[in-house]
Subunit: 346 residues, 4 copies
């Protein structure tokens, strides 16, 4: 079959590799119909993720059709249209039983190398999904492939970050960053009951996209975010900040925008080891900070239900739909920031 | 001043009465600009509420302008545009301190007679509001008088009933009854993260109003509610039922529609003493049932924030805007079900 | 092997039956070391449960040693000391994924007949446990067999009923009934942060057992429960009532004892179809009522951790330890209320 | 009257000052019967708190008898035995209405200088309490003065830190620091449902006190905390860490002890401006961090109820009971760490 193969730093190629087969009786093989390139794929592309050896198949975002299931699979069957989380979990271990699926003792990330379970990726014609009952979801009939794909990763990541903030209905939210994840955080904040949502980004066109979703746009090159938020909130600051950029400057900004008693939730796309946490300010202001990789299994059913009901549409972030064979071009465009979300049609 | 006076069963008149004055130092006098007739005013009109003597001023829904405040009032001042809950609470007693404001030891309902604190009502040019700091809210500048009025009673009642159900984002909701409260429950369910919301009513025009809000309409004269819900939910039933009619038949229906592990929340407009609770079914299906008068103080700030953000618009339920002097006609129309929500402009 | 066989109404015998074998690859066979007789076993004994045919093996409370596992079982292995819930669940279906394990689409109750999955019971030398990964828990090394056994049924049932009440730390609780389940509700209420716990029972000796656990005893033959509770709570009533008897009189009492805004949680051992629910009182007082079969999987890990830490000791309710061969005598004593909890040593 | 007066760095004296009088109609004057010296009083003593001028009366922990109330005070009356939070709140502003009493727009701290509302302190014969209805609590009759005193500050601080951690029943907790606040965190963790609680301190005698409360002692001079916790928890780490020392080394330790998906809650007695937050570790491990000054009003009623029920006893931390006149000696002993909790009997 065809698959997107990591060849080395800044080098991917579509090549022929053997098709995956059922290994465990709880496995399924999925024929991928659409895959996508994720921001975190670029970390591998840039050679930053230890344990990602040349020759491995990339990708962890996908939808497809179940091609074959092991004899212990009960929830899906051949022919089902399915989506699954970017990370796999067993559903039975101590971590899973307390809902910490992203800490699963048998877990891993598709196409993310040896340190993450050594699973072949989903940018391919077929992908093997372990613990299929727990890691595949049938896509509701009213949900398109493209919409469903986002439930397996960045939409549910953004949604989870908003949930992690403990947002209460009627509260105000500032989302820092208006890339795909930031825009989905805006959507999620509204679905979860936010009153006013501020969208902050250096790029004016991006916050305009957020404005179209109902957010108050703050193009931060030409407008002071703190001043604007203070003006609208009567000097209080927002109840919740979602940090969707990663890195020290935007984390710092998050703590400037949040009100006393508020919460900062970082979506988590960072590569920095440390952050100078404002301890004294947080002590006086009674703040909560949360950061972590997404816990997709916790929220994917809710997100699929919301997609089915038409309450969220993540496909507005798609800029390119390429054939799987064009993946090399897709990586290049995405890496050079000439593309938003890139889908690979298989 | 002019006020709507209860004269006896099915008899109200607009008459001249003395203006209210500051009694406690924590009181405020509000000049009413818009009042409304509530379904529960009809209980008095029908002579069903003990302790409602002829001569009393009716009404508990209002917005207005602060006319005067006692020396201990700090949160509002003369000239502020305000709204307040239909029931008053002190904010300091044991019940209030645990958030059970509707169980306040010093509480009562405006214009509801001796058994409810003996407060003069708000269908008048002026109304005295006790514990003004705790019972008045400044109306945000982007919220119209008419929208704000609903925050003091039926919108927040409906919103609270949905919150009381413990609705989780992505869950499905059936709202039984599509009168004003039912429609506001539909709005609230969406704001609080529902995926699909079913609106059930015998009157087709009413569920069509709900459909315009995004609900799946079930005109129950021509469509079997249980069959329709089972079809859409794959035979499961809904996660949450909001019962917004009152009375045994609709409560019974509620328990037919809810899934195992689900919740039934009654908005509470009932006059029946008992209900034959389906004990065995609930035991097997693990159900929760909640009924109670609204706890407006708990939710009014969130509701005002959501109104300000434009996320809810309750004014679509208004059918008549009359002058205060026309209150008699307003009561008649409302009682004969020839009107939806009736506002009285003062 | 030896097993306790249902022969007909009021008739059980220990007989030889074939040993169970692995059927599904996710099964385990457990060599039972201690089983127990549950109040709900008596419903079968009395011929009240449809689908319980003579010849079936009884019992759903057990601890034991894993004897054999299917090839897909990962969480336990031969030789592990284990306990499991009285009801089995798959852990993967829609109900399980939302935590409603007691509504599992593939679930059932061990030894409870055709209507409950047709599983052989655990009052036997060996029992087959389906979905072993999800339905067996390794017993922590500091927890005795006898303590662990209760985590699989009545302790976790009582604990779950208290959790279902939404008890907040510092709140007051009345537990109606001081049989084994009632006593465990008292223990659970304390562990979950209750301040004062009242134990109400007609039998004085029983409430004295509760008093030894720290409860305020109310022997209701000689003391008026409502008067006593009002005296202690300053006329308010309790925040939470746990109804652990079943049936109309005690449910009625529950609603007399609860404060406005409070919650009634029924443990659920009832055989009545209907209950005359006090609708008007509940409307005025803003009450929540919850009833349902226990959801053991949700809470068993927490309960085992609390047993391990020595924070609960359910074995004080044991009055008889018989050999499996004496099961007939055990059923008779328990049925005639001459025994508290009866254990069967295998 | 006699009062403890701040004279300058490391200098306090008991002097005669005028008695306080009712200023606002919602004020009360309390005749103090017991006051205490708090760790945070030492910050003033050391000259570290801006706006604390020589001549001011110190102290914010107290119990006493209501001497006089303003005409708008309804909840307490002359002769009532009362306790109150160290910080005062109005109960009506936007912050208070959302439960952020520690962010009250009219709030302050008794005896903490100009920057904290300029209120005279409680280490005196009399103290004026503003917003008395909201800032005084009647002490339940079964609760001694000494026990109640702790509800107004450090017990409720510790309790609140545990609640802020989102502790679930059955979870494990590590409390770093076994001074008075740390010991009260241990007590609180048990009351709130913890299974195992680890107490970590360099001083062996202190962790032995924690062991007497049921904790697993870790004298960290002679035992590696991480190794011990990993041994007991099967290598997982604890669900929750309460950091009750303040400062970088113990915060760093907190992040070493917590499991993936866990939470670190700092009690907040720090004077450091920044903390090098382990961003990458937290991202991978999905961690939550919370720090803030205590929100006493939120929890004081629950804590008083738990004291009344005998579920917590904070007086074990008292080492010295001095006369008010001996305050100078009390400060010296406490500052030189020759005393635990010092009470001043008035």
């Amino acid at each position: 079959m065809k698959a997107v193969i990591f060849k080395g730093v800044n080098d991917v190629k579509v090549e022929s590799v053997p098709e995956p087969v059922i290994v465990e009786q709880s496995d399924a093989i999925v024929r991928v119909t659409t895959a996508a390139i994720c921001g975190s794929d670029l970390h591998i592309y840039h050679g930053k993720i230890p344990g990602t050896l040349p020759g491995m198949t990339l990708g962890h975002e996908y939808v497809g059709i179940v091609e074959e299931v092991g004899p212990q699979v009960r929830e899906v069957r051949k022919g089902d249209r399915v989506v699954g989380p970017f990370h796999v979990a067993c559903g039975m271990c101590r971590s899973c039983r307390r809902g910490a699926y992203n800490q699963c003792e048998r877990g891993g990330v598709l196409g993310y190398g040896i340190a993450f379970g050594n699973y072949a990726g989903s940018q391919a014609q077929f992908v093997r999904i372990p613990f299929a009952d727990f890691n595949l979801r049938k896509i509701p009939k009213d949900v398109s492939d493209e919409k469903a794909l986002f439930a397996g990763d960045i939409l549910t990541t953004a949604y989870g970050a908003v949930r992690n903030s403990g947002l209460l209905p009627g509260e105000t939210v500032a989302v820092i960053g208006a890339g795909p994840v930031g825009l989905m955080a805006v959507m999620s904040a509204f679905v979860l009951g936010a009153s006013q949502v501020f969208s902050i980004d250096l790029v004016k066109e991006r916050v305009e996209q957020a404005a179209a979703l109902g957010a108050i746009p703050i193009p931060s090159k030409e407008m002071n975010a703190k001043a604007k938020i203070n003006e609208v909130t009567g000097g209080q600051g927002v109840d919740v900040v979602i940090e969707a950029v990663g890195g020290t400057p935007t984390l710092k900004l998050a703590f400037e925008l949040v009100r006393g008693g508020g919460r900062v939730s970082a979506v988590g796309i960072t590569s920095e080891d440390k952050f100078e946490f404002p301890l004294m300010q947080s002590l006086v202001s009674d703040l909560t900070f949360r950061i972590g990789v997404a816990n997709i299994h916790r929220d994917i059913d809710a997100v699929l239900a919301l997609l089915q009901a038409g309450r969220i549409d993540p496909t507005t972030t798609v800029t390119h739909r390429l054939a799987l064979e064009e993946a090399q071009e897709g990586y290049r465009l995405f890496d050079e920031k000439k593309a938003g979300k890139v889908l690979l049609k298989v």
